[in-house]
């Protein structure tokens, strides 16, 4: 009977990639591309653009790989690069277009991103009513909740990884996500 070796950690793959092995980096791309694209697609509201930004995030990560500190998690480092790219893109877009903001029930300013059906990040969902409702509820979440929901459910980060990413106490992450889920459960009650 052959023993199955456990998959190499991200940090080990980074070491191997730093030795010049691009295929090791390719494996990291395979591991993270779906989650990275999902996260970015919700952040920028455009799946095609999210794929391009994901690609750029990986290339930037490769270029900066020698500066990666292995004491930290590769996942949070990579998502930080992607997040910064997404935010930079949104800032540039705001400079070019009229901002779409409105005030939610709690008096907070929330951003509204108009969905483009061809580039819709939720366009693959067969249940269109659910996709529409989910899109709306995510867009209407308070920004501080929305970001944590994206990191948790689209980036697939653990609570601890989110705490590292946001440099926020773990308890605060738990509390905010709990409150965000309460809003989500109410808004999506018809689909639960």
């Amino acid at each position: 009977m052959t023993e199955k070796t456990p998959p190499l950690t991200d940090e080990r793959l980074v070491e191997i990639a730093l030795d010049g092995d691009e295929e090791a980096f390719g494996l990291l791309v395979r591991r993270y591309q779906r989650r990275l694209t999902a996260f970015l697609s919700q952040l920028v509201g455009d799946l095609e653009l999210a794929r391009e930004l994901s690609q750029e995030a990986f290339v930037r990560a490769w270029s900066a790989l020698s500066r990666f500190d292995p004491r930290y998690r590769f996942s949070t480092w990579l998502f930080r690069i992607a997040h910064n790219l997404g935010i930079d893109h949104l800032r540039r877009r705001r400079l070019k277009t009229v901002s779409l903001y409105r005030t939610d029930a709690e008096g907070d300013e929330v951003e509204v991103i108009a969905p483009d059906t061809e580039k819709d990040p939720l366009g693959h969902l067969e249940n269109h009513a659910l996709a529409s409702e989910l899109r709306q509820v995510i867009d209407e979440l308070r920004p501080e909740y929305r970001e944590l929901v994206l990191l948790r459910h689209f980036a697939g980060l653990s609570y601890q990884e989110i705490a590292d990413f946001k440099e926020m106490p773990l308890g605060t992450v738990k509390n905010k996500l709990f409150r965000a889920h309460s809003v989500l459960r109410d808004a999506l009650a018809d689909f639960l």
Binding site: T5, P7, L8, R12, L13, I16, D19, G20, D21, E22, E23, A24, F25, G26, L27, V29, R30, Q33, R34, R35, T37, A38, S41, L47, R51, S54, Q55, F58, V59, W62, S63, P121, L122, H124, L125, L130, A131, L134, H153, F154, G156, Y159, K174, N175, L177, F178, H181, L184, R185, L188, A189, F191, L192
Partner: protein, 179 residues
């Protein structure tokens, strides 16, 4: 909301409604609390919705990313080649100082400064024993022992550096079976 409900529902949120992953205290609470059971079911359904909401993977992205690494790869290989080039220079410097090719020492022992002479050199160079002996005799005539030892050490270090770099390039990655 009772403290038990708050704690249980926070756990349910974190665990995506998977009640079997709750600790015993929370599971006992769930048995007697319909409100928390309702939250458990809702959280489980919410988890499924989010897992379906993640867009499908793009199978081409890895290829595209690796293609973009080209320029970076060339830069990286150039940088990796620098120690090899430096080592070769050091090795050559050592060989010249010792009186080796194409230093004056060995030339003095060639049959003549002519085409035939160079042909003879090429022939003799293929025989390392002859070349080394010629180099050693020329060196003994032109260099003092301290300088000779230093040059020999320099050449040796250069060859070690070349070998070390070559081994680094040959390293086989152990991850290829990893999924």
């Amino acid at each position: 909301m009772a403290t038990d409900c708050q704690a249980t529902q926070e756990m349910l949120t974190e665990l995506g409604g998977e009640i079997e992953r709750l600790d015993q205290v929370a599971q006992h609470h769930l048995e007697v609390c319909p409100g928390c059971r309702e939250v458990a079911a809702a959280e489980f359904a919410l988890g499924r919705i989010f897992s379906e909401a993640v867009p499908p993977a793009d199978p081409t992205i890895e290829k595209k990313v690796l293609a973009h690494l080209g320029p970076a790869r060339i830069r990286r290989r150039f940088v990796a080649f620098l120690p090899v080039a430096a080592s070769l220079v050091v090795a050559l410097l050592g060989a010249v100082l010792v009186g080796g090719v194409p230093g004056g020492g060995i030339v003095a022992f060639l049959p003549g400064w002519s085409a035939q002479g160079w042909m003879a050199f090429v022939t003799s160079a293929s025989d390392w024993g002859v070349a080394v002996a010629a180099g050693a005799r020329a060196t003994a005539a032109t260099l003092d022992p301290v300088m000779l030892a230093g040059a020999g050490l320099l050449g040796f270090l250069g060859l070690v550096a070349v070998a070390a770099t070559a081994l680094r390039w040959r390293r086989v990655s152990p991850w290829r079976n990893d999924g």
